[in-house]
Every structure is written in C-alpha cells, then in structure tokens.
Amino acid sequence: MNAPDSPAILCRGLRKSYGSTHAVRGLDLEIRRGECFGLLGPNGAGKTTTVEILEGLTTPDEGTVEILGMRWDRDEMRIRSRLGIQLQEVRLTEKQRVEETLRLFRSFYREGPTVGELLEKVQLTDRRRAYVRDLSGGQRQRLSVACALAGDPDILFLDEPTTGLDPQSRRALWEVCERFLEGGGTILLTTHFMDEAERLADRVAIMDHGQILVEGTPLELIGTLGGAHVIEFEPSVEVAFPELARLPGVRTVRERGSLRFLSTDRLHRTLPALVGLLAAREGELSSLTTHRATLDDVFLARTGRQLRDG
C-alpha cells in the first residue's frame, strides 16, 4: 500500500533503448506530492519515453518506478485509478460530442467529479453538445485535460499540453493546471516552452540525450548563469572572448554560430560599453537584442543549443 509520505513519483536508474537508439540513459527523478514538476528538453531528448515509462505504458529495460509508493507490476489498476494522463498527439473520437466523451472517460473510474463539474473546470460548459471535430485546438486540449481529470487524480501527467496553441488558449490551459495544483494535486509537465515551465513548475529538470543535465527551481537554474539579463548580438568584426568578459557587469560569455551571448547583472552598464567597444573597432551590429535570462539560456549554456532547435 502507498504510504502517504511516499513521493508522488520516484524512479531510479531508468534505461530504455529502441534498437541502437538509447532513448533514456540512466535517469533518476523524485517528484514530491503537491508540486508541479517540469521536464524540459528539445524534441528527441527522451522526455516522452521517460513519461510513458512513468505512466506504465512502456516497460523500461532497467530501473525502478514507484507511483505513490506503488509499483506497476503489482498494482497497475490501483495506480491507474489515481492518475490522470494526457498524451501527446492523441486524437479523441471526432464524431463524439464533448459530453459523450467525458461520460465515457468518467465511466472508467469509481469516483470523480460529474460531467458538469468537469466541463466547468475546463470552461467547456457552453460547448458540451459540440462534436469533438468542431472544437478549436485549445478547446480540444482542454477536453483532453478534462478526460485526464475524470477520475479526480492525485497526479496529472501533461505531455506538451500547449504545443500548437495560441497565447490565449495556452493561458486558459495554465489556469486549469493552477486550479488543480491549488487543490493539492501533483503535475508532471513536459514541455519545450520555457515560459510555460517558469509559470507553472515549482521545480524543473532539463533533459538532453536521455539524461538529466540539471535540476532545480527555475530561479536556481537561471541563477547559475550568473546574470539576470542576456544580451544577444551578431558583430561584423571578430571580438575576442576575454575582451567581452572584461566589459562591466558581464558574468559569462557564450557563442552559437556567429551569435554571441553575454549574461549580465547590470544591463545599463554593459550595453553602452559593448556598443562603445564595437564602435572603436569600426564594427557593425547585424542584430542586437536583450531579454531577461530564461531557462532557454540555461539550456544553451549547458548544450550550446536552444531548446526549440529540436
């Protein structure tokens, strides 16, 4: 039986290969009850394989998984009744109505909210009689999440829930997640959107090539960059790294192709100094942008690539 103090999700030493492709290469995770944990990484990093192992849909080659203190090989149906799973790329039956779809999923669980309550949770009450095929992308995704909520789960798995959605639909879905978290639920979210992870996740792990590169709260991870701002520019003349590093406020310098990245604590000091340096060399700027440091910059710092490069 699951002890109430056991973690929501615990896995140790997960490995999974498909032929010669090593999708997951030795992965440990511990997700506490009541937290939202973000698993980040580019496409092909092994996120979906990892999540499907945790969901009991894929058997790992090696390693152990415990969900709420229970094991898949012994307690599959008991675990399933406590999970809500939203899978990537699943099409719900097109010629079924919204409320019919929810009644179907609700029927698989002994306990849970009514269909009306589920519709309310995801703000689809006015679309209850609509066919699934007539829903917008955002409405479909909310319906998919509502199906995952049908058994009043303790843990909600969301795999790339807002990919392909417009900003308004994304916010609507995030609100659904936030209400679930307020009710004490646990979420495992996989995404390659940094803003999504920064908004929802209490802790994140960044994955690449089947392994976890770094794990912590979003602020902790951004803190490892050493600066709250990033200046991204493309100079027409060669400027050596040490020169850039000596500019006031600069903490780290990185490159990707012809782009240069400076992380800095003091944007107002670094930026004029950079422009001055380039002017002195009679160099030009093909591009120049600045932004607050994000998890994307953390990933870039660790891998030399950006998350959305895939």
Binding site: R80, L87, V90, R91, K95, S107, F108, Y109, G151
Partner: protein
C-alpha cells in the same frame, strides 16, 4: 457499478461513431440488398462443366443412370426421392429424373443450369429409345416457393452479410483507433480491457435487427421468399453468427497497425469461406477430402443453420450442433484476441 457503466459507455461510443458515419448505411443495409437483387435477377449461378443431375431410385434408375452417364456433360447420381428433392432445392443437382411409369424431369426453369440439364437429359433418353419421340416425358417445373434458387440463396446472403459486416466494421474501427492512439489513451485509464472488446460485440448487436430485417423484407417483397421457421429462431441464429464474426474481426485487428494491413487479413479470412461455405452454391460440389474442413468453418455452420430455419422450417434444437460450433469459434477468437491484442 462503475464496471458496467464503462461497458455501456464504450458500446454507446461505438454505436454513435457507426451511426454518424454515412457510408455505413450503404455498406450495411443497401449493399447486401443490391447483391441479392443482382443475383436474384441474373441468377448468375456459376455452372460447372458437368451438370449434376439426380435420378430417383426406382426399377429403371440403373438403366437411366447407365444411359446418362455416357453423356460427358452430366454428373449422375442415384438418390432416394427425399434426398433428390433436398438436393434439387439446395442447388446440388440441376435436375431430377423421376417417374414410373413415364419419365418426369423436375427442375427450376429460372436457373440456366436447370434448362440445360433438361435439354441434355431429354435428348439422351429419347435417343436411347430410338424412334422419334417414342418416350413420353413430362416436365415438372419447380417454381414452388421455398424450393427455388433464390430461396436457397437468401439465407446464404444473410450469413455472408453477418460475416462481412462483423469483420469489416470491427476490424476497421479497432485498427483506426490504434492508429490514432485512441487505444493507447484508453489503456492509460483503469478501463477493463475485456470491456473494450466486449463493447464491440454489443454494439454489433444494436444494428443487427435492422440489418437482417432489411434483407428479410427485401427478399419477401421482391422475390416472395418466406421464412419457413420461426422468426425467434432466426434471431437467435443471427445473434450467435454476428457475435462469432465480431470475434473474428477483433482477432483480425488484434496486432495490425494500419487499415491497409487489416484489409488484407480480412480478405484472407473471408474469401475462402465465401467460396467454400455455400453462399452462392452448394459446398457439396467440392471434393470429399475438403468436406471435413468445410464442415468446421463458421460460415458453413451459420449458413446451414440459417437454411435449416429459413428454408426447412426446422426448430432451434435441430441446429444445436451448428450453434455450438459457432459458440466455440466465438469464445476462441475472443480469448485469443484479448491475449494477442496490441493496445499501442
């Protein structure tokens, strides 16, 4: 009861998807009726090289048999009057020679094979008698209801329809659900897997009455084919037959990932039975060595049971063996499908 609720909801889902698919109306209801119409009108009964004829056993049977056997185009057998009548009705023979005194030629004039047999048999008998028209032959045209080819054909078409619809409707739906990952989504919940498979059979039952009724009414109104036995018995047999072929549909789709692949498997399952199990012509025409195989095929059992009730007016007890065989096939395919089933 969460358990039964899930079975109900899964069944309803299947029924809705079917009802909301307009093509389904054509394949399930219109197509079999068109097929019956075409065959009924054209009677394109594939005629073998040798025309089978029967001689009723009497004092002159051996002599006639010797005479007719010399004709290469005839395949002659001597049968008792009861057997001969049954053989004629089932299309196993095209004509029956009977009579004492005189000669009676009994056949269905709406079948080209019957008319051919009459010309050949009559010619042979007259020629043997020598002089011009010394032999008094009498022709009995079998147009009697319940004894024509169309009477024999309709139950076979019902069997054929139960098989095709079971295989295609279930096979396609399940494979498509797997292809679009809907199955994977369902098994990520605590849904009982057997309920999913059972719901396919239950949903099949929902459409069954309408489907069978269309064919029965059509055959009655257009060709005056009537059900000799009870409608309740007919309902029981169609129900068992439908369940059986839904099981085959589940088995056909248990592993495949694409609708193209499932089409191939369904054809492999259904084509031999369409030919061997007596849909369009009697399986008695196949060699004796094949008969034990033909006898265990589910469509043979279903067609035999349907004809026993439809044509011969027999009660359910008379087809207990056939129903038992269908039951074994149903359970066997269902259990095997549940074991083999690929959910992702």
């Amino acid at each position: 009861m969460a358990n039964l609720a899930s079975l109900r909801e899964l069944t309803l889902t299947r029924v809705r998807v079917m009802l909301r698919e307009p093509e389904m109306v054509f394949w399930v209801f219109v197509f079999p009726a068109l097929l019956a119409l075409g065959l009924g009108i054209a009677f394109t009964n594939p005629a073998p090289d040798e025309i089978p004829v029967a001689i009723e056993r009497n004092s002159r049977a051996a002599a006639w048999a010797g005479l007719l056997d010399e004709r290469l185009e005839l395949d002659v057998r001597v049968l008792t009057p009861v057997e001969a009548e049954l053989a004629l009705r089932r299309g196993e023979v095209a004509l029956v020679v009977a009579g004492s005194p005189g000669v009676v030629l009994r056949f269905d004039p709406t079948r080209p094979e019957g008319r051919n047999a009459r010309l050949v048999v009559e010619g042979a008998l007259q020629e043997a008698a020598g002089a011009p028209r010394p032999l008094a032959t009498r022709v009995e045209e079998v147009r009697q209801q319940g004894r024509r080819y169309i009477d024999w054909l309709i139950p076979g078409l019902i069997g054929f329809n139960l098989m095709s619809t079971g295989l295609w409707a279930v096979g396609f739906f399940v494979t498509k659900s797997r292809q679009t990952l809907q199955l994977k989504r369902l098994v990520s919940t605590p849904m009982r897997r057997s309920h999913y498979l059972l719901s396919q059979i239950l949903a099949r039952f929902v459409f069954l009455p309408a489907e069978i009724l269309v064919l029965v009414l059509f055959a009655w109104l257009i060709f005056d084919v009537q059900v000799a036995g009870s409608l309740a018995a007919l309902a029981v047999v169609t129900l068992v037959g439908a369940a059986c072929f839904t099981g085959f549909g589940l088995l056909a789709s248990s592993r495949v990932r694409s609708t193209e692949a499932v089409s191939g498997i369904i054809n492999v399952i259904s084509m031999p039975m369409i030919i061997l199990s007596g849909v369009f012509f009697s399986p008695a025409r196949f060699p004796d060595g094949l008969q034990p195989l033909i006898a265990v095929l589910p469509l043979t059992a279903l067609n035999d049971a349907l004809r026993a009730i439809y044509n011969d007016g027999l009660p359910l007890t008379a087809v207990a063996g056939e129903l038992g065989l269908l039951g074994v096939w149903t359970i066997g395919t269902f259990v095997l499908a549940l074991r083999l089933f690929r959910w992702q």
